[in-house]
Subunit: 295 residues, 2 copies
Amino acid sequence: MIVLEEFLARIRHDVDKALDELIPGVDIAPVNLHQAIRWSLFAGGKRIRPAILIAVGKTFDANPDHLLRSAAAIEMIHTYSLIHDDLPAMDNDSLRRGKATCHIKFGEATAILAGDVLQTLAFKTVAEDVSLDAEVRVRLIALLGNASGTPAGMVSGQQLDLDAEGKPLDINALEQIHRQKTGALISASALAGAIIGGASEQDFAATERYASNLGLLFQITDDLLDVTQQTTTLGKTAGKDAAAAKATYPGHYGIDTTRELAANFHKMACEELSSIDKDTSLLDELVRFIIGRSS
Amino acid sequence: MIVLEEFLARIRHDVDKALDELIPGVDIAPVNLHQAIRWSLFAGGKRIRPAILIAVGKTFDANPDHLLRSAAAIEMIHTYSLIHDDLPAMDNDSLRRGKATCHIKFGEATAILAGDVLQTLAFKTVAEDVSLDAEVRVRLIALLGNASGTPAGMVSGQQLDLDAEGKPLDINALEQIHRQKTGALISASALAGAIIGGASEQDFAATERYASNLGLLFQITDDLLDVTQQTTTLGKTAGKDAAAAKATYPGHYGIDTTRELAANFHKMACEELSSIDKDTSLLDELVRFIIGRSS
């Protein structure tokens, strides 16, 4: 675990440095817009998605310098989604990672624009990444577009989630929401690493199955954290899911069965790694780290 | 003018067809999200930006089939910006093109998501456009990202515009807002056509100057329409700029001087065309059409 913790710390450092270079500074107009972007982007995020991208890329022997901008771009998309999810018309949250949310600090209009433009900057970043062939860049942009878009990506998952509030939901519908809302971008992070690393078709498919299980595992542990942790530990308002009658695994199965499900997704993710003829120990540790968040 | 009107009608038809194919149908979940996207996308927009892209592309002898998806992508970006601009936290408008705005019809959360995902679909559309070389696609995505982003694009222009409400503004600041908020995407439409048409460096530069004047002309005529037309003719709430103490040319110069300015931008745009060694009559007619909107 020490190795993984060092790896994650280095990723955080490198990705934060890349993001700082890619986002206009607060000395450039409109100052409040760039402050708002940076407020949310540098709020202490763990950079899990960049870590997944870089870990998969390293597994397939990619040049680390070729992974960094795509990793930063995925973090921009993730952060844009958090800023918009927190808006009054959406989840109406005032606390995120222990700090005021973007609209509380900078006003709603600026928060909407900060989220909008973070998405723009994400695609622009990949398009302008001269370390990658143009063919690779368009493949990555299409991947990110599908994973964060509709009908099978993050935004459609968020819409389904909002529509489901307060309604009884069967487990298939719940899993579909989770796959889209969180899983799709987690999967895309892994697949982006495989694309940049030039993984074979067979390895790409194994990575896809690994990432699919990892994505669901991630959302389940998130759900567990929401019910088991205090607001101070969590850095965001705890118990919000139940309060909003959100569809969650613990709400559906109870905590114990949800933990068993998480262990099962963990097992399935690791099994997929065995068919990849590379040193996959880092990917194995990553799954362990994610399930460890909730215990 | 008959030729241009026929050209514009055909563009509207072709672009609407392309958009219909590129946007998930209302039989696909989440239905309300896709209805909301289509509500705003097919609200009778004149498809001016696609027309500029296609007119410039045709001027440089591009295959018309190669222009359509990029033209549709730019319309998606434009429509996403309209949906978000109309939100209560932004311009708070309930009427657009004679119809209820997206958030009035579908609720604020869905309107935010519809705008978000239209932006995503725009970049995905260009990334997946196999009619274009990957090199051309990444150039177009970077162009659109810069034109619609920050610090010199549409979103930063919108932020500057919001920040300026009710404040005295000198003409340089006003022009900067207009260049970013409206001009940047109009320019990008022209430049995208030049990129796809493979314009020479010199012709690209002339197109850039033509488009820059065209973009300001477009915003000025928009400002003029806001003060001179009734809500019913305009299809959106007239007189809104003055009511919101928005920075406008007529507010700064009065109507007559603004008309003179428009005529001057018209003249400058047309002058740039003379250095392009192609039949630029369509581009000439386009400028005439845009200035004609306000007379």
